[in-house]
Amino acid sequence: MKTDHLIDMLSTNIEPVKDSGRLKIAFGVALIVGGAASFCVMLATVGLRTAAGGGFHPSFLVLKLLFMLVLIVGGTALLARLIRPGQDAHRLYRAIFLPVLVLGVAGVIALAREPTWAACKRMVLGTEWATCAFCIPLFAIIPFVALIWALRQGAPTNLTRTGAIAGLVAGALGAAAYAFHCPDDSLPFIAIWYGAMVMFCAWIGARLGPWLLRW
């Protein structure tokens, strides 16, 4: 095929393009649908926190949700750049992992102030660490699929990095849903289990990115 022929074909009857509206809508849909689905999966499996699990503690729930909200907002802002070729996002990429680090340090400080080993162990393992470790990636599956769908409408050129951030945002959505069940209220618990599981989701996303996002 001659290139001139292709150019003729591509430039014949072109449609005007609205300024990036399509991408914003796709992201909005992915976040809302993914988040809602994640919450429903939580309700259907482990359910809301019961009175037996310690009842409702707004302060820790707010802390967990705030932590995840920072990751979701930061990650989405980064994704919006990653799907546009040629936009530099190196600095932001590292900054997005900062909240996890901050929480980790806060967790260590909280542990250091505990007098006994047994108290530390109770703080770290809580009552349902295994449920937490299992549920966050599980709740992240639907948001991840939704985000991949949205990202495929863009043009990501660094697929590993884009996949990692998609995994991070999906993990954060999953963790936010799990927070409504989570009966464990301690900083070290949030730092270790929430932080680690969100990072695990980011790692999975980085591995899957090159397969799922290729175009």
């Binding site: 005007p16 070729p85 040629g86 043009a155």
Partner: protein, 190 residues
Amino acid sequence: MDVPSSEPELRALMTAGLVGDAIAYKMLLERLSSQLRAYFKGQLNRLNRGPVEAEDLVQEVLIAIHTRRHTYDRSQLFTPWVYAIARYKFVDYLRRTKQSIEDLPIEETEEINVRDDGAPVESSLDLERLMTSLPLRMRQAIQAVKLDGLSVREASEQCGMSESNVKVSVHRGLKALALQIRKKGRNDED
């Protein structure tokens, strides 16, 4: 990266193309195709690979630019956007044609280089054959709107589809064509 002197002009053409100026858009693609040809020839030459492959890449990138043009942010520079796509497609191309790098004997490529006099070459892509792999409606829509140059309304009457269906079919059809081209590298090895 260094911004070439062609940036303001290319950006103006792109901006005009995005609001539907077909003449500006055609000029843009012509200008880009010669820049991209020089870029890919230079890159491929170092790997002892010929001008036909460069032309394949030029065409693949032109289609990518077209089908992903909504990802260009009008407030940003245009050249980095184009080259990020070109680099991405180049790396992707090398990855999927890895086999043929090792298979290519050096003597043969020298011969190709000697014969490369800069004249326009045809790519190895066969549009008609690629078109046959598309679903019927997409093929009809592309044939009518993009090859025969009918308006969307005329095409919708001819194909018996609604106007918005024609637009969607053209858009999806071009994306499907891009996918076929990408897969071609793998099929050739079979």
